[in-house]
């Protein structure tokens, strides 16, 4: 892939924008907005993390030590909502904002004002979600949503004002995500450099394209579901109340029609970025570009039709059980294509192991565990034993922490020098990696065994046979949580200064983004590059 013209517009280096807080409030620049998304995400990652450390502290030993069960229930649900909607999704959107225009040779996102609005909806939504905690301190209401992030009716119909706050927060987050998705689709479809056909488009952009389509398909269903919940709570409708002709399971269908694709929404951007990282540090072209594109699409499509495997114990009819079991198992095939391509990219390369590469490799191994346990979870009969137990908790943290968060960290270390113009500290990065991997496994591996031994999830206190594994898990969680401070410091130090990064940053890169200086000028690709046919 070559560019005919990559000389920088001399005016691009000059940023004409207000300074101070007004710059950030009014910016329509994709790099500024990307930075805001990533900063917000990092902040909320620590908020969500603090909540779960309180939970793990309570679970350190049997008995109720630190909190009442009501408060425990609030923490687990808000932890999940914060981590999913306010930490992982904004991180991926931050990547998209920063990288998609650079990668496809566009001067900015297609809809810059919408972009600004999309971001600034997030802080109010996060405040709405967590405000009930504060209100409860002043004696207003009974705290945040205490139903778990799944908001199952009728428990959520019964709940206090926290549920209403969560519903409106989800509405706002949904609007924000849909605006982001529209923007990304519009940018990708209309603003690629001449010569960059869809099939030549970088895989990161492909991952995001599928994510954006999934978001637009599924978020309205979630919005509808929680709106029905709102009217059941306040306007005497009976969508989820059998006494009025409704059905509580309807809510589960609506929720998981969104909820399952959501897993892929969180993971597809990461799957998209992995091949770039692997190719860079193996000094070898990406293996199976086209196969990976079709796998993304296949996973997206399959992801839309397997939702009921999240409630196989709810008493579905036998044909439905069989259908959801086999369709879920079939997701393993496109996923195997991705694993195959990742390993084939590494095969016969010349590898070095900088921090992003370490995170990428850690991601592949640990996400492999998530995938394999997902395969056995698909089995209806065995699922009856795993479901609602700590086995599932461990499984989805392998998917969403090792898959999602570690994937995001791969991207941050990979692109940070490009964004800031400085190299981060390799030493701190590697320390962060090893501490994270070891403590992550220390936290979540015991939870597989807890689940098998019969410990249900979402309980504040437990029987004595679960004590040892819970103690190990809590120790792991605290090391894991504290290790992330190294990450925050490393990022901060890299923004402030450090060894100058070259335009290429890494020894062997390919793609338009590496042809711009590090950091790129405030306005980049004002003259579109041209991709020559091979």
């Amino acid at each position: 892939m070559n560019t005919a013209s990559h000389t920088l517009d001399p005016h691009g280096a000059h940023a004409h924008h207000p300074t101070g807080i007004l710059r950030w409030l009014t910016t329509t620049n994709h790099k500024d907005i990307g930075t805001m998304y990533l900063t917000f995400s990092l902040l909320m990652f620590f908020v969500g993390g603090a909540m779960i450390l309180a939970v793990r502290a309570e679970l350190f030993q049997p008995g109720l030590q630190l909190m009442k069960p009501e408060f425990f229930n609030q923490l687990i649900g808000v932890h999940a909502l914060v981590m999913i909607f306010a930490a992982l999704m904004p991180a991926a959107t931050g990547f998209a904002n920063w990288m998609i225009p650079l990668m496809i040779g566009a001067p900015d996102m297609a809809l810059p004002r919408l972009n600004n609005w999309g971001f600034w909806l997030l802080p109010p939504a996060a405040i709405l979600l967590t405000l009930p905690f504060v209100l409860a301190i002043f004696g207003i209401g009974d705290g945040a949503v205490a139903t778990g992030w799944t908001l199952y009716a009728p428990l959520s119909v019964q709940g206090g004002i926290g549920v209403d706050f969560a519903i409106f927060s989800i509405h706002i987050l949904g609007v924000s995500s849909i605006m982001g998705s529209i923007n990304i689709i519009a940018t990708i479809l209309n603003m690629r450099a001449p010569g960059m056909t869809l099939m030549k488009m970088p895989l990161f952009c492909w991952g995001w394209l599928v994510t954006a389509v999934l978001l637009i398909i599924t978020l309205p269903v979630l919005a509808g579901g929680v709106t029905m919940l709102l009217t059941d709570r306040h306007f005497q409708t009976h969508f989820f109340d059998a006494a009025g002709g409704g059905d509580p399971i309807l809510f589960q269908h609506l929720f998981w029609f969104f909820g399952h694709p959501e897993v892929y929404i969180l993971l597809l951007p990461v799957w998209g970025l992995m091949p770039h990282v692997l190719s860079t540090f193996t000094r070898k072209p990406i293996y199976g570009h086209t196969a990976q594109v079709w796998s993304f699409i296949a996973i997206g499509v399959l992801g839309l039709v397997v939702w009921a495997h999240h409630f196989l114990t709810a008493g579905l009819p036998v044909p439905a059980l069989l259908y959801f079991m086999y369709s879920t198992m079939s997701i393993s095939l496109p996923l195997a294509v991705l694993f195959f391509c990742w390993i084939a990219t590494m095969w016969k390369g010349a590898m070095t192991f900088e921090t992003p590469m370490l995170f990428a490799l850690g991601f592949i191994v640990l996400f492999g565990i998530a995938g394999l346990t997902g395969l056995v979870l698909a089995d209806v009969a065995a699922d009856a034993q795993y479901h609602h137990s700590y086995f599932v908790v461990a499984h989805f943290h392998y998917a969403l922490f090792a898959g999602g968060i570690m994937g995001v960290m791969t991207g941050v270390y990979y692109w940070l020098p490009k964004w800031t113009g400085h190299m981060y500290s390799e030493k701190l990065g590697k320390t962060h990696f090893w501490l994270t991997v070891v403590s992550f496994n220390l936290t979540f591996m015991p939870q597989f065994f807890l689940g098998l031994a019969g410990m249900p999830r979402r309980i504040p206190d437990y029987a004595l046979q679960f004590a040892e594994f819970n103690a190990i898990s809590t120790v792991g969680a605290f090391i894991l949580g504290l290790s992330q401070l190294i990450f925050a410091y490393n990022v901060w130090a890299c923004v402030k200064g450090g060894k100058k990064a070259t335009a290429e940053v890494w020894e062997s890169t390919s793609g338009l983004e590496w042809e711009l200086s590090s950091p790129p000028p405030y306005h980049s690709w004002e003259t579109q590059p041209v991709i020559k046919a091979n």
Binding site: D142, Y152, P248, L333, A350, M351, V365, L375
Partner: protein
């Protein structure tokens, strides 16, 4: 926390368990028989099937994991820049032979998914869902915040099963007992060797009935019936828990099933019937206030204290205080002896829609309801001085 229980020495226990676990894992496949690291010992046909299927799947995915990552680790060791490796330039399969090798793993995965795992899974699902064929008896399970009600339609036996672990143990003021959080006042008793069809429903939110050793887990959904079945093969006491988040005390609604030989089961049914007859007789006799207060205190602590608290102070705003409550200190019945809407008696008998306050007339005896109402009106500093007789409750039903 200081306790005499040997389990409270996690350090010692942990080491010994890790040691046995690892040594077994190193030894052979027998590690899978060590139930601390796996499902507890199954005692039903479904439980056995599930365990053997689970073991088989765990072996399959472990092999897959090891093979795939052995290849990756080999590559990481061999194809590194520091060994002077020159990067290859290929970006996809070229030629028929390479295509063949690319397709082999996928053919194998198809086989694993839909044959090796898919076929036993199919049979297990069919077996699990076959609740009706040759069922010997029916047990109806009703989940409610935060206890289980069990009903044997054939004999009419019906009772509620609640947690008996004392608060002192939960709060760490007393040593924790052996069956901490997994003990109840009324165990469900089932005959060994009989196919029991279990019908499940709920009166408020979704609960999930789960006994790990049965390999059975099924949601109890308000307004709907769900079903499953067990055939317990060994006498014993089996413990489980509610598995679906159902509010504040979700962690405190255990399931305890005692499986006994059939004659013993029949004797138990007769005993339960006699108890129920005695309770029904309680509706017709006239109680003294002291009797009502004593019975009321016991019944209150069992059925009401989880929300309204032992001292009646509640957890406002969700669970209102009863001490000084307008409703509790309001009039008892209308002058004609009729129910006053939204009165104390109405609340206890009919509950309040959309809240955790349930209609206790469906679950408690006349005597219990009368005793609780009398107790609430004359405890926690409430001094109404009046009382209500079980017979009056019976008349209001």
């Amino acid at each position: 926390m200081t306790t005499l229980n040997p389990r409270s020495r996690p350090g010692f226990h942990l080491l010994s368990r890790l040691f046995t676990g690892f040594s077994l894992a190193l030894g052979s496949g027998t590690a899978l028989a060590d139930y601390t690291w796996n499902f507890p010992k199954p005692v039903t046909p479904i439980g056995r099937d599930t365990l053997s299927m689970h073991n088989q799947f765990m072996i399959i995915i472990t092999v897959l994991f090891v093979v795939v990552f052995a290849i990756m680790i080999y590559s990481m060791l061999k194809h590194r820049k520091s060994t002077g490796a020159e990067p290859a330039r290929f970006s996809g399969p070229t030629g028929a032979l390479q295509w063949f090798w690319v397709m082999v793993p996928f053919a194998m995965l198809l086989f694993i998914d839909f044959v090796l795992m898919g076929i036993p899974a199919f049979h297990a699902v069919i077996e699990m869902e076959d609740t009706r064929t040759k069922a010997d008896m029916v047990l109806k399970v009703t989940g409610m915040q935060w206890k289980w009600q069990y009903e044997y339609p054939a004999s009419g036996v019906k009772f509620i099963s609640t947690l008996t672990t004392p608060r002192e143990q939960i709060e760490g003021k007393e040593p924790k007992g052996e069956n901490y959080l997994l003990e109840v006042d009324n165990e469900v008793v089932l005959p060994v060797g009989k196919k029991v069809r279990i019908l499940l429903t709920s009166t408020d939110v979704i609960h999930t009935w789960w006994v790990p050793q049965f390999g059975v887990k099924r949601d109890a959904i308000p307004g709907f019936l769900r079903e499953t079945w067990v055939r317990i093969e060994e006498p014993g006491t089996y413990r489980g828990q509610c598995a679906e988040l159902c509010g504040k005390d979700h962690g405190f609604m255990p399931v305890v099933v005692r499986a006994v030989p059939e004659p013993e089961y029949l004797a138990w049914v007769d005993k339960k019937k006699a108890e129920m007859a005695a309770a029904a007789a309680g509706s017709d006799k006239t109680w003294t206030k002291d009797e009502l207060m004593a019975a009321g205190k016991a019944a209150y602590e069992k059925n009401c204290a989880a929300c309204h608290q032992p001292e009646g102070q509640g957890v406002p705003p969700v669970f209102p205080a009863l001490a000084g409550s307008k409703i509790v200190t309001g009039p008892l019945l209308s002058p004609e002896g009729k129910l006053i809407p939204d009165s104390h008696v109405d609340r206890v008998m009919n509950g309040k829609a959309g809240t955790a306050m349930q209609a206790f007339k469906t679950t408690l005896s006349d005597a219990d309801i009368a005793a609780i109402i009398t107790y609430e009106r004359n405890a926690f500093g409430n001094t109404k001085g009046d009382m209500i007789q079980p017979a009056q409750i019976k008349a209001l039903r």
